[in-house]
């Protein structure tokens, strides 16, 4: 017998306010707790329609004493009868499936989101919830989305009926909302249309006796719109659309079903299932790995069925496969665009090439046996060759977002102008192709397009998605730049009006007050008196040529006692970016500026970055200064922090600064100061290297643009001057000093940056390659040992070899990360690469949000102004850190991708022969790095030889033997070999992606 607990009574408290109880069971980790919460119902929840005359009478102001805004238009979109003028009410399924469409500026106006829908969306997908909320917040004039709190309104609240499922109850609540609205708005001749993809909900709406709600499915509604033609392609594809057709015809390919939540929870708890993020191999899209805390190495997942629809980066639950299916990591290269090229998007045929995959073991394995298996697996990982493998049994969290790609030409019928199924090949080669339905296939054939993924039913070999928009023709600079910004999740839209409103009203005319005690200025900024006037110091800035956002400036002065006063002055961004403002929120969301070859995406609006905050020469600027007293061997005697006003005397480029220092004829005070800085910086660097700081390398190149056509025309490896290191050393010193100070003041929430020591497993392969090929090794005992052993990796015949080892070591290192001090214990604060115990980022607040936080915390620490609560709250700091870590990583990737693209464009014009180094050897190809262009590329076996079958791969020696084309002598290629390669840029005929193609000479 199952009964719901006694229906809670409703109690009237006052006019228009009554209370009831919400009773439910929270089942978590196998437990079940009865939860009771009060639930208040009220009569003052407005409909927010501009035409309504009743609701403005009942509204009450909020805590800020503001009344709700009536947003829904009084003359909404009119469709043919019986709909007429109408508002739209959304169901949860429509929001979850079609949030892109809701955001589309050309459809969906005057939309009511019932609170219950908002709640359901939040529980199912927080990102979609955030987008919906943003839509409601920012859509005042144009889209007009509102949230109606139906659960709190006594007119629309519905009690769950006995034995009614919660979904049915919620659907009924939505219908009740529609009904209330349609009655409420009847006098104003406005209808309400419920858009839902739930057939049962639509049927119930027509069945209910008293209801007269109009319901439409998403497709039906779109078809009614006057501009349906433009929108139709963006309708998401769910399983149900054409399933009848497919299920019957082709059912030979199916993915295994996911496990039930109960099984997943039970398995996780008793240790037979594991949770982790899946990483798809860069070289083989049918091989992934999952790092699990209990295993020393990532566990392999091989093959389509074992990957079971997981996307790169998804949070998945895996189960180990039986020992008979364990295998060595494949040394085959496989990418999705060349795999099953001939699959027809209209059919879902599955060729059974994966017969060695887990043929779903029908015998039940008990959890006890599974635990034994896990033990064997851990032992196996210690040995070399055979690795435990696993299969994905559940997807905890999808990493799905919008993806950029292009249509696979082979899947398009260019003649047809009707809707057809086509494949989209995504830019990220770790991802499978996506099937979309579009009417404009022919038109989109040579375009970069954005698509969204909707679902991946078990019966489909490829995920289903829908078209979102096109970015422009492939290879056009604009389309490619936008594509790579989108791919790396970089927010590049112009700053919104709300953000720009936070800037000083004076705009470019803003001036630092000439006198810090000027009563008029003080009345505007009471903190002004706490600033220190440093305009008498001889300060200058040194930056890359053409730099407009000058974050930092320096000065040095000899003190009477023979020591040096050295100051680092950082742009005082937090004077303009106050916590809690829209400007601050935007900066926090962007996290960092992104530097592309031809474009900079700012974290903060231009006005601040390049003018008001930028420490430009000859004008007064606010700064945050760190002033040390250093002795002759650059030991810190004393340090002081202060907000200040400064005037930079000169803005040098690195080269200009170098020239000025080297010019013996210049002996003015400024130059003397710069020389002192240089001298001190050399000592600082010396000390740092002695402590074990690493000197790693990455193949960084710079693309020169033709100044007139702004076409890229030359690639150059970045040069380093002594003045680069001058600035760098003092910035490091400032960061360290600030880190200590803010950690001292805020031991739990100080914004810091750490760099963990690399686990030895990361270096295993590199060390083995070095050992076999060069009889060298890299020591991992400490950063000092690592630094020293890197210095020893020298090939006397090839000066570049050392750099190559450094580049490859860099790839084995852990990524540095931002964190708040409460998240780790002090010994783990260590920055391995810099060999310091504590570190933060303080010196570039114009382009990094970490620095903004560090500035505020430092200001709090020195008593300049109280620190905002957001930076004193662990949870909020955790959110900030997570976001800026992600944004920082994305920005780096975006920058690299941009360089890669432009390098490709340069090479397109000049084909050449260059020196390269073999850095990886596979069964069916080698990877070669070309230092001159900083590119690396795979050379497939097919391109090395005409007879791939004669090739031999030696795993132990890292050797590939083959008979080169146009030759009859076998050739051995080892890892680290220096080879001559022909470099050219080619367009892949299948994917129309341009990339560097290397050919061995």
């Amino acid at each position: 017998m199952s009964v719901s607990a006694i229906a809670p009574r409703r109690k009237r408290l006052a006019d228009g306010l009554s209370v009831t109880q919400k009773v439910f069971v929270r089942s978590r980790n196998g437990g079940a707790t009865k939860i009771v919460r009060e639930h208040y119902l009220r009569s003052d929840i407005p409909c927010l329609s501009r035409s309504c005359t009743k609701c403005p009478q009942i509204v009450v102001p909020d805590a800020q004493n503001e009344l709700p805004k009536f947003i829904l238009s009084d003359s909404p979109l009119e469709l043919s009868a019986p709909i007429g003028k109408h508002y739209v009410v959304l169901d949860t399924n429509v929001v979850l499936q079609a949030i892109d469409l809701l955001e589309n500026p050309n459809c969906f106006f005057d939309v009511i989101v019932p609170q219950i829908v908002l709640d359901e969306v939040r529980n199912k997908s927080y990102p979609v919830y955030t987008r919906l909320r943003t839509l409601c917040r920012d859509s005042d004039d144009h889209k007009r989305f509102i949230v109606f709190h139906n659960e709190f309104s006594e007119h629309t609240f519905v009690e769950r009926l006995p034995n009614e499922t919660i979904n049915d109850r919620n659907d009924r609540a939505i219908r009740k909302t529609c009904q209330w609205y349609s009655e409420h708005l009847k006098p104003y001749d406005i209808n309400v249309v419920l858009v839902t993809n739930d057939r049962l909900n639509r049927e119930a709406a027509t069945k209910e006796v008293e209801s007269n709600i109009i319901t439409k499915s998403l497709v039906q509604y779109i078809e009614l719109l006057p501009n349906a033609d433009d929108i139709r392609d963006s309708i998401p594809q769910m399983d149900s659309f054409d399933k009848d057709l497919e299920r019957d015809t082709f059912s030979d390919f199916t993915f295994p079903e996911y496990y039930s939540t109960a099984r997943v929870m039970g398995g996780l708890k008793n240790g037979v299932l594991y949770q982790g993020n899946i990483q798809i191999s860069e070289y083989n899209f049918l091989e992934g790995s999952v790092s699990l805390p209990r295993f020393s190495k990532p566990v392999l997942i091989v093959g389509q069925k074992n990957l079971n629809r997981a996307f790169n980066g998804d949070q998945v639950i895996v189960e180990l496969l039986p020992q008979s299916e364990w295998k060595a990591p494949s040394s085959i290269v496989l990418d999705s665009e060349h795999f099953d090229v001939n699959d027809n998007p209209d059919i879902e045929a599955g060729d059974d090439d994966d017969n060695n995959e887990s043929s779903s073991n029908t015998t039940v394995i008990s959890d006890k046996q599974r635990r034994l298996l896990a033990k064997d697996a851990m032992i196996a990982q210690r040995s070399k060759k055979i690795q435990p493998t696993a299969k994905v049994v559940y997807i905890q969290r999808r990493s799905w977002r919008q993806y950029v790609g292009q249509l696979a030409p082979s899947s398009v019928d260019p003649q047809s102008s009707s809707t057809q199924n086509v494949f989209v090949i995504l830019m990220d080669k770790c991802l499978p192709k996506v099937r979309i339905r579009t009417r404009r296939a022919a038109e989109l054939l040579d375009k970069r397009i954005v698509i969204s993924i909707d679902s991946w039913p078990t019966t489909h070999k490829y995920p289903l998605g829908h078209f979102v928009r096109d970015l422009g023709t492939i290879e056009s600079a604009q389309a490619e730049t936008e594509a790579l910004l989108l791919e790396h999740d970089v927010e590049y839209r112009p700053f919104s009006k709300k953000v720009l409103e936070c800037l000083p009203a004076e705009g470019h005319d803003w001036k630092a007050p000439t006198k810090l005690d000027d009563p008029e200025a003080v009345s505007k900024d009471p903190l002004l008196t706490k600033r220190k006037d440093l305009r008498d110091k001889l300060i200058c800035s040194i930056d890359p040529p053409g730099c407009v956002d000058i974050d930092d400036a320096l000065h040095a002065k000899k003190l009477p006692n023979g020591n040096w006063e050295v100051g680092v002055h950082i742009a005082d961004v937090t004077h303009f970016v106050k916590p809690g403002t829209a400007l601050d929120a935007e900066g926090a969301a962007r996290g960092t500026s992104v530097y592309l070859v031809d474009k900079r995406i700012d974290m903060l609006p231009m006005l601040l970055g390049t003018d008001l905050c930028s420490l430009k020469p000859y004008v007064d600027r606010f700064a945050f200064s760190v002033i040390w007293e250093l002795d002759d061997s650059a030991n810190i005697v004393n340090v002081n922090f202060m907000k200040s006003v400064i005037r930079s005397r000169e803005a040098f480029s690195y080269e200009q600064a170098q020239l000025r220092i080297d010019d013996k004829t210049q002996n003015d005070e400024l130059t003397m100061g710069m020389r002192a800085l240089l001298k001190l910086s050399v000592k600082l660097k010396q000390k740092r290297l002695e402590a074990g700081a690493l000197n790693l390398a990455s193949p960084e190149v710079k693309v020169h643009m033709d100044s007139e056509t702004s076409d890229p025309n030359e690639v150059e490896i970045k040069k380093l001057l002594a003045t680069n290191s001058l600035v760098e050393e003092f910035m490091l010193l400032a960061n360290i000093s600030v880190a200590r100070k803010i950690y001292d003041a805020f031991p739990q929430t100080a914004m810091l940056r750490r760099h963990a020591a690399p686990p030895s497993t990361n270096f295993e392969i590199l060390n083995e390659m070095l050992n076999t090929r060069k009889n060298m090794s890299i020591s991992l005992e400490s950063s000092k040992a690592l630094a020293d052993s890197l210095d020893r990796c020298v090939d006397p015949e090839d000066p570049y070899f050392n750099t190559l080892v450094r580049i490859m070591s860099t790839r084995c290192m852990m990524a540095a990360q931002y964190f708040y001090s409460g998240a780790y214990s002090y010994p783990d604060f260590r920055h391995y690469g810099l060999a310091v115990d504590i570190y933060t980022h303080f010196t570039s607040p114009i382009r990094r949000y970490c620095d903004v936080v560090a500035h505020r915390q430092l200001a709090g620490a020195i008593g300049y102004e109280p620190l905002s609560l957001t930076h004193r709250d662990k949870n909020k700091m955790d959110m900030i850190c997570r976001n800026i870590n992600r944004k920082h990583r994305n920005a780096q990737f975006a920058g690299r991708a941009s360089i890669e693209y432009y390098v490709g464009q340069v090479m397109r014009n000049n084909e050449s022969t260059e020196t390269g180094y073999v850095i990886k050897v596979f069964n069916n190809g080698i990877v070669v790095l070309v230092p001159k262009f900083g590119v690396e590329g795979l050379i497939r076996l097919d391109n090395l030889t005409e007879d791939p079958n004669s090739a031999a791969f030696d795993e132990v020696e890292y050797k590939l033997t083959f008979v080169p084309t146009n030759s009859d002598k076998a050739r051995d290629v080892y890892v680290f070999d220096k080879v001559e390669v022909q470099v050219r840029s080619v367009m892949d005929p299948i994917t129309s992606k341009r990339k560097a193609e290397l050919l061995l000479k």
């Binding site: 017998m1 199952s2 009964v3 719901s4 607990a5 006694i6 809670p8 109880q21 009773v23 439910f24 069971v25 089942s27 980790n29 196998g30 437990g31 079940a32 009865k34 939860i35 009771v36 769950r160 034995n163 919660i166 039930s260 939540t261 109960a262 099984r263 929870m265 039970g266 398995g267 708890k269 008793n270 037979v272 039940v364 394995i365 008990s366 959890d367």
Partner: protein
């Protein structure tokens, strides 16, 4: 409440006479009026509050927890808290152990009713709070526990029952609850005064009683434990065996009525 020697003597004589004359005019098997409320603690799975006419009051909460019954074999636990007494006071410990014995003994609560899956069961926590009591509270408490358990609803399992080989964590319905279907035992207290047995002795009656009897009742019959209990610390005497028989007969006769009235709450 303390009575003078004269009062005690008068009271004893009237209670011991045949037929016995109780100061409030009750017959020997008659209970004083009691009030019981159930379900007044929404965050517990079951609850009851019992108030006797002399102001004795007791509150019982039933809460549940999912446990692995291979690890935890006690599926029912009674905790008693008497206002003004420390947790380790003798009276608290005696009553706690008595109630645990009553509820767990063979004919007490059937723990198979609490089983969820092959691995997991509900564990029931019975928390008793005695706010005030003037005579021995155990009978009152057992009535409260009875009505609380009878109004208990537990979360409804929706995952599979067979979870031994392939382990699943039990998951539950978000809203639906299932009524707990067990027949908890009741405890009766009788005072022995002379050759008379009196059900539900009041405070003053307890004061002069020669002895007390605790008799448990479960599923329509008398069960263990049956024991004697001192109702005061000045007048305790031994009692004749036929009185025990008389007491058992009395409980046998009137317990079904009590059960019926508690069921019909």
């Amino acid at each position: 409440m303390s009575l003078s020697v004269a009062e005690k003597s008068y009271l004893y004589d009237s209670l011991a006479s045949t037929p016995s004359i109780r100061p409030d005019g009750r017959l020997p098997h008659q209970f004083r009026p009691i009030e019981i409320f159930t379900d007044f603690l929404p965050s517990s799975n079951g609850s009851s509050r019992i108030i006797a006419s002399d102001g004795s009051e007791c509150i019982v909460s039933i809460k549940s927890k999912v446990v692995d019954h291979h690890v935890e074999n006690e599926l029912l636990q009674v905790d008693v808290d008497i206002a003004g007494q420390r947790d380790d006071a003798l009276v608290v410990e005696t009553i706690t152990s008595l109630l645990n014995k009553v509820l767990k003994s063979g004919s007490g609560v059937d723990s198979s009713m609490l089983q969820l899956t092959k691995k997991y069961s509900f564990k029931i926590f019975v928390d008793v709070l005695v706010i005030s009591s003037h005579s021995h509270p155990v009978s009152l408490i057992s009535f409260a526990i009875y009505s609380a358990l009878n109004s208990t609803y537990l979360p409804k399992l929706i995952s599979a029952f067979d979870d031994l080989e392939v382990e699943e964590l039990p998951t539950f319905h978000d809203y639906d609850m299932v009524k707990l279907d067990i027949n908890p035992p009741l405890v009766f207290i009788l005072a022995v005064v002379g050759n008379n047995m009196l059900l539900d002795p009041a405070a003053n009656e307890s004061e002069v009683a020669n002895n007390g009897l605790i008799i448990s009742w479960s599923n329509g019959k008398i069960t263990s434990p049956i024991r004697s209990v001192a109702l005061n610390d000045s007048n305790v005497k031994s009692f004749k065996p036929h009185l025990l028989k008389q007491g058992l007969a009395m409980v046998e006769k009137y317990a079904p009525d009590v059960v019926r009235s508690l069921e019909n709450l």
